[in-house]
């Protein structure tokens, strides 16, 4: 499994979109085809959101994770802002952020919020998780957490099935006693 998705990644290493088959449900990323809009690739150099949030998560369920830090100079951002003059002269609501990690070629897209700044921060969080998974594979905390969560889910299902079987058995016993 690991070899399979790493193979996919290496084959598509140059600029393209990656789809992590096992982790995609966690990370809200989507395969995206470039629309014919004036996309602007920009080397992220100014006012990186890392000033607002630390690059490794410090709160929430992943606060025990030790993820590889992202270097802002390795990132390129893309924004949909259209052809207009921008600033006050424009009032557009599309604020999707597309963020690329140049060394690995991994790209994430985020339009979860109505704020460009929050989308940029969220894109970095998602990208950091993907990059960590990319370089560490099964050693990544992301991978381990996912596996633990799956095991718990399976265990829960198994217990529920056992309980149901027990109840059905008891019911059968009661019915046969009453006859």
């Amino acid at each position: 499994m690991l070899k399979h998705f790493l193979f996919q990644v290496f084959v598509k290493k140059k600029f393209c979109f990656h789809f992590f088959m096992n982790a995609s449900s966690l990370f809200h990323s989507t395969i995206n085809t470039l629309a014919l809009r004036p996309w602007l690739w920009r080397q992220q150099k100014f006012l990186s959101p890392q000033l607002a949030i630390p690059l490794f998560p410090v709160a929430g369920k992943k606060n025990s994770c030790d993820l590889l830090a992202l270097n802002e100079t390795d990132l390129e951002e893309q924004f949909v802002r259209g052809d207009g003059p921008g600033g006050q002269a424009t009032n557009k609501t599309s604020n999707c952020v597309v963020l690329k990690h140049i060394p690995s070629g991994i790209v994430v897209k985020c339009h979860q919020t109505r704020s460009v700044e929050l989308n940029r921060q969220r894109a970095r969080e998602i990208l950091q998780q993907k990059v960590d998974l990319f370089y560490k594979g099964e050693n990544s905390d992301i991978f381990k957490e996912k596996r633990t969560a799956e095991k718990k889910k399976q265990e829960k299902k198994r217990r529920a099935k056992e309980n149901l079987e027990k109840k059905m058995h008891i019911k059968e016993m009661q019915e046969s006693d009453s006859k």
């Binding site: 607002a52 424009t90 557009k92 700044e117």
Partner: protein
């Protein structure tokens, strides 16, 4: 081909008879043509969110409403209690909407069909971490301005580093900064700064009473009213003494009207019909209010400086104007680009007398310039 449902037709007739649009310019008539509404060919009896998004996207496109897809998505998400369609689960998107929800979607979409900006349609919008009430004609905060706040935060929070050149100023972090915002609008900048700088205080002023009221309302909703003073004040005509309830200020921040007057006519219908044009029109050179702010800065400002959002043509124009007004002792210490790569933000500081170095692209060493 199925016809429009009769409740929808009645609503349309009501809207067409109404000459006075909510918040719009009274002279502009309703341009809605019901024949441009699409028939609901593929609707089930109880449409799902996904079906409604597709339907209204089609209607907006047929009526040449800009951002047809985004408008449809934001409206339906809002009715379902979410900020964006992408934050809704797959099951939420495939659940049928109640009839009340459908009616609400229709009502909001009718407003969008009149080219009302989405932010006014929903009556709210997000700016960084904050959700703010929006109401015409108070200026809607633009996404670029989120970076202006980042810039002010960066300079306010950074600890000092030794000066490298004469006139170079890298102040230590100020423990209780007093920030003046000129032209606060909905309160986006002021309230974001208060939210991120718990020790700060803000004086927010605007020449429009509607803006003062909306900033007040947003401050109370966010429980930030204790650290903000909101004044009805016109920077072009008011006396600067009114700006000193807490003494000289550490920083002035502003997103002043900076559109060149000749460009005003080319703005989108959403802007021209619903937003306060005085919040946009900066006069012939777009610098009418910028100049007023810089002219009063020396009287009220301490060391952190002035942070302005401007038109991309302004950095050079402001530089020249400051050089032709040496009595102000101000110069641009840094110019920063927005996320589209356009020069958008100026950091202007007091310089020491006799310093003649070119500060056009100068910045403190730890600040990274694009």
């Amino acid at each position: 081909m199925r016809l429009l449902t009769s409740p929808l037709r009645r609503m349309l007739s009501g809207l067409l008879n109404c000459c006075e649009r909510e918040g719009g310019r009274p002279s502009k008539c309703c341009s809605l043509n019901p024949h441009h509404l699409l028939p609901r060919q593929n609707f089930s009896a109880k449409p799902t969110a996904a079906e409604l998004v597709r339907y209204w996207h089609g209607v907006f496109e047929a009526n040449r409403i800009p951002e047809a897809q985004e408008s449809s998505e934001y409206i339906i998400s809002y009715v379902l209690g979410a900020k964006t369609i992408h934050s809704l689960s797959a099951s939420s998107l495939s659940n049928p909407l109640t009839s009340e929800q459908q009616q609400q979607v229709q009502w909001l979409s009718m407003k969008r069909l009149q080219r009302m900006p989405v932010q006014y349609v929903l009556g709210e919008w997000d700016f960084r971490e904050l959700t703010l009430k929006m109401r015409p004609p108070v200026f809607i905060p633009r996404p670029e301005t989120e970076d202006l706040v980042s810039l002010v935060l960066q300079k306010s929070q950074r600890s000092g580093s030794p000066a490298v050149n004469a006139g170079h100023r890298c102040p230590t972090a100020i423990p209780h900064p007093v920030i003046l915002e000129i032209g606060c609008g909905s309160g986006a900048i002021a309230l974001s700064l208060l939210n991120k700088l718990p020790q700060s205080r803000v004086i927010a002023v605007d020449k429009e009473e509607a803006a003062v009221n909306l900033t007040c309302e947003n401050a109370q909703r966010l429980q930030l009213q204790d650290r903000i003073r909101i004044l009805h004040y016109d920077a072009c005509s008011g006396s600067w003494e009114q700006l000193l309830p807490w003494g000289p200020v550490d920083t002035i921040v502003s997103n002043p009207p900076y559109v060149f007057h000749e460009d005003m006519a080319h703005l989108a219908e959403e802007i021209l019909s619903y937003e306060d044009l005085d919040a946009l029109d900066g006069g012939n050179d777009g610098m009418r209010v910028i100049k007023k702010i810089l002219a009063l800065a020396p009287f009220i400002l301490k060391d952190l400086g002035v942070f302005l959002e401007v038109d991309p043509r302004h950095p050079e124009m402001v530089e020249n104007w400051l050089q032709s007004h040496p009595e102000l002792s101000l110069s641009i210490s840094a110019t920063h680009k927005d996320f589209c790569g356009k020069p958008r933000f100026l950091h202007i500081q007091k310089h020491k007398a006799g310093d003649s170095s070119n500060k056009k692209d100068f910045a403190c060493p730890s600040v990274h310039l694009p």
